[in-house]
């Protein structure tokens, strides 16, 4: 039952991803990305990691998607196809990617993973304890650092995105 669900999800995600990278209309790409992200959230739920799925939904499908939508709305003429790269280049890129992918898959299938077999769902409780623990294996420091990082990114994004029109006009 779960394996069938996995296959279905995988097919949905990969298809959405393929459309994401191949569609000529950028707004559609964003929407396909949304589907892929939702699918991945489903995957997290499937792997008994509910918290992660929730984060995926709220941060990615909620926050990041909104950013993308706004960026597209601000910069692109919605519905107009973007410039397509030459076929020759696309083939080269595809060959390169397939080459590396082949290598990666070869590595994955030739490696004996020491799989453990007990099944234990990850509870939010545990995640919170580990994140805020100061003891062995605790993540309090990275947690704090990442909060500072997010703050600085917030400030940085505002500063960068703020209009510097006068300067640019002079430049032109």
């Amino acid at each position: 039952m779960e394996s069938i669900l996995f296959y279905i999800l995988a097919v949905i995600i990969l298809t959405a991803a393929l459309f994401t990278v191949t569609t000529v209309k950028i707004y559609r790409a964003v929407l396909y990305l949304l589907i892929a992200l939702l699918g991945i959230a489903g995957l997290y739920f499937l792997m008994d990691y509910d918290f992660m799925g929730a984060v995926q939904l709220s941060v990615y499908a909620g926050g990041v998607m909104v950013l993308f939508v706004y960026a597209v709305m601000l910069t692109e003429k919605v519905g107009e196809p973007v410039r397509k790269i030459a076929l020759f280049r696309r083939i080269i890129a595809a060959v390169t990617v397939l080459l590396l992918m082949g290598l990666a898959l070869y590595a994955i299938w030739n490696f004996d993973f020491p799989t453990a077999s007990n099944n234990k769902p990850t509870t939010i409780n545990r995640v919170g304890e580990v994140l805020l623990s100061t003891g062995d294996g605790g993540f309090i420091l990275p947690f704090e650092v990442i909060s500072v990082l997010l703050l600085s990114v917030m400030v940085g994004a505002i500063v960068i995105a703020k209009s510097k029109k006068s300067k640019i006009e002079n430049h032109d």
Binding site: I92, A93, T96, V97, L99, L100, L103, Y106, A107
Partner: protein, 646 residues
């Protein structure tokens, strides 16, 4: 009070004066201030030197019938090994005290004289700064207690000489002369340095007292080091050191810089190129005299004697023919230094055997006085006539009476007429040479005659030789210039008999001994006679304008011509450097450097340029291309890692 700690002030005062005048040159635009700073520092140094001399020679120097050395100041500077180190220190012994007196006296006189001579020159303060620098370096050289310190100040003396010769730096000839002096002496100093290093290696010390101690001499005698061309390493070192000394003292064949050095201001010629710096070579040999005497059976001393005698003769012959009065004096200086070297070369060591050494030092002392006097007098003459050439002079006696008398005294002194200073020292030299070797004695004897002749040729042609009218009547109008001349004139008259016997002060073993001057011995009478003959000949030829000189010149034919052209030594050097060294050696090296060494560098540079020109398209600015390169890199690394199992 016999710790002599005040001695350190003697070099330090001129140094202070140099720093003050040199660094704050622009604030000393007013001449008197600069001059009085220089004079004051040297004056105090002079008084201190005289006091040192009094203390050393008459009060506390002698203990148990022997002068003992004092080391009032001593600071270890560089420690190489347990035994070998370089110190900075002051060594007080008879020779250095005598040199202190000579250097400070002449320096002080020249400082006073320059106040008049350089009057109105735009670089007045600079000139005084250089003079002070020179005095500082020379005094430190004289006081040095080890060879390395001597070498340091030896170079510093060379630098100040370079600066002062090139003082009129807008004159191309002065620049050429200063460069020549510097290069030639530097060339000689290279040998000096090699010699010092050899000594340091084979004798194990740079310290002069240690080097000259009997213990070290015996040790060196027992361990002479490896033998090269029949001479031991230490002997070679001494020869190399002598070459250094010969360069500074203008001995043949390294003398070519001295005549050209006369391009400098005349006070400089008097101070550096007559009285003090050029005798540094003599001083150096005298400093290491026991080492020279005992190493290799005094082989090096024989070289010193021969080189000295030859230089004396060679320079005297050239001096006969020169027209520029300063050049005559320059060759005369070279000749007299040759005398001193010869005296050192023929000297023995103990007791009366050390007569030559004593005489050489005595001659150094008296020569400094009368040669400085001659140059200063020549400076007055040049200042008055505005020319260096004898043909522009004549009949100057009635214009420059004081200078005339002083010049006469100095000329008599250098000719060796009693009772002037030069007589005593010169006759001791000839005496010592006679005991040593007849040929060397005869050379000295003959040179004495030549000296008398060319000095009086100079004298008569300047002050007599008919009447002559000048556009601007020459006058002795500067008291600053007359005072030193008169003072040195008095010394020239009196120094000889006051300080005889000089061996009471300076002797190789530092044990004072006394001797009698035999005024009526055949040797003395002979040398006085030959000097008088020279004077007489000069009187006949030059007292009145006659055609004797040209007839004599024609009679000598080629020899006269060669001597007039300084025996083509300069041309020989030019030939060797330009035609042989530059053309045959330097040019191939330059070619090699330009084409092979530089070529390789250029090839590397050009290849880099070429390659970057070819591959610069890689940096296209397209992110995706960079991504591709990155991926190919990853592919490559993964394959390497995976399939070759690194």
């Amino acid at each position: 009070m016999s710790d002599y700690s005040w001695v350190i002030w003697i070099p330090v005062l001129p140094l202070a004066s140099f720093l003050l005048l040199g660094l704050f040159n622009r604030y000393f635009r007013k001449e008197p201030i600069a001059a009085y700073i220089g004079m004051l520092s040297l004056g105090i140094a002079w008084v201190l030197s005289l006091y040192t001399a009094y203390q050393y020679y008459f009060v506390s120097g002698i203990q148990n019938g022997k002068y003992i050395p004092y080391l009032p100041f001593r600071w270890e500077w560089l420690q190489f090994s347990d035994h070998l180190s370089i110190e900075l220190g002051t060594l007080i012994d008879p020779v250095s005290v005598m040199m202190l007196v000579v250097v400070t006296t002449i320096s002080f006189m020249v400082q006073i004289y320059s106040r008049g001579y350089m009057h109105g020159d735009s670089g007045f303060a600079r000139f005084y700064a250089y003079l002070s620098l020179f005095s500082f370096s020379m005094l430190s050289l004289v006081l040095a207690n080890n060879l390395f310190q001597i070498y340091i100040f030896w170079e510093l003396v060379g630098v100040s000489s370079f600066l002062l010769i090139g003082y009129y730096f807008e004159k191309p000839s002065a620049i050429a002369a200063s460069k020549k002096a510097f290069i030639v002496t530097r060339f000689a100093d290279f040998f000096f340095l090699t010699g010092i290093l050899l000594i340091g290696y084979f004798a194990g010390t740079f310290d002069i007292e240690t080097l000259n101690s009997m213990q070290t001499l015996k040790w060196i005698g027992a361990h002479p080091g490896p033998v090269f061309m029949g001479l031991s390493a230490v002997t070679w070192a001494l020869i190399l050191i002598f070459i250094g000394g010969a360069g500074k003292s203008a001995m043949f064949p390294l003398h070519i810089w001295l005549p050209d050095a006369m391009e400098g201001p005349t006070p400089v010629s008097a101070l550096i190129h007559a009285a003090t710096m050029v005798v540094a070579g003599v001083f150096l040999v005298a400093r290491l005299f026991p080492l020279y005497y005992f190493t290799g059976d005094g082989f090096t001393l024989r070289i010193v004697a021969v080189v000295g005698a030859f230089s004396a003769l060679f320079a005297a012959v050239i001096a006969l023919t020169q027209e520029d009065i300063k050049r005559v004096l320059a060759y005369s200086t070279m000749s007299q230094i040759g005398y001193m070297m010869m005296a050192l070369g023929v000297s023995g060591y103990e007791g009366h055997e050390g007569m030559g050494y004593m005489a050489g030092m005595f001659h150094l002392f008296t020569h400094a006085m009368f040669k400085a006097l001659l140059f200063l007098a020549a400076g007055i003459i040049i200042h008055a006539v505005h020319s260096n050439y004898m043909k522009d002079m004549g009949g100057l006696k009635k214009y420059l009476p004081v200078t005339h008398w002083m010049f006469l005294f100095a000329a008599l002194a250098i000719s060796g007429i009693p009772p002037f200073a030069g007589f005593y020292s010169k006759d001791e030299i000839l005496h010592a040479a006679f005991k040593y070797n007849t040929i060397i004695w005869f050379t000295g004897f003959f040179v004495a005659g030549l000296t008398a002749f060319y000095m009086f040729r100079l004298f008569f042609r300047i002050f007599y030789n008919g009447e002559r009218t000048y556009e601007h009547p020459p006058k002795e109008n500067s008291k600053f210039m007359l005072f030193p001349v008169v003072f040195l004139g008095i010394l020239t008259i009196s120094a000889g008999w006051i300080f005889t016997p000089f061996s009471l002060y300076v002797s190789p073993t530092r044990e004072p001994f006394s001797y009698e001057v035999h005024y009526f011995s055949p040797l003395v009478l002979g040398s006085v006679l030959v000097a008088l003959t020279g004077i007489g000949l000069a009187y006949l030829m030059y007292y009145k304008p006659t055609d004797y000189p040209s007839r004599v010149a024609r009679a000598f034919g080629k020899l006269y011509f060669w001597a007039k052209n300084k025996f083509y030594v300069d041309e020989f050097y030019l030939f060797v450097t330009k035609k042989i060294i530059f053309d045959k050696i330097a040019r191939p090296f330059a070619w090699f450097d330009r084409h092979v060494v530089d070529g390789m560098m250029n090839a590397i540079g050009n290849t880099t340029l070429w390659i970057s020109e070819k591959i610069k398209f890689i940096q296209s600015g397209r992110m995706q291309e960079y991504g591709m390169y990155f991926i190919y890199g990853v592919v490559f690394l993964v394959m390497v890692y995976y399939f070759f199992n690194f």
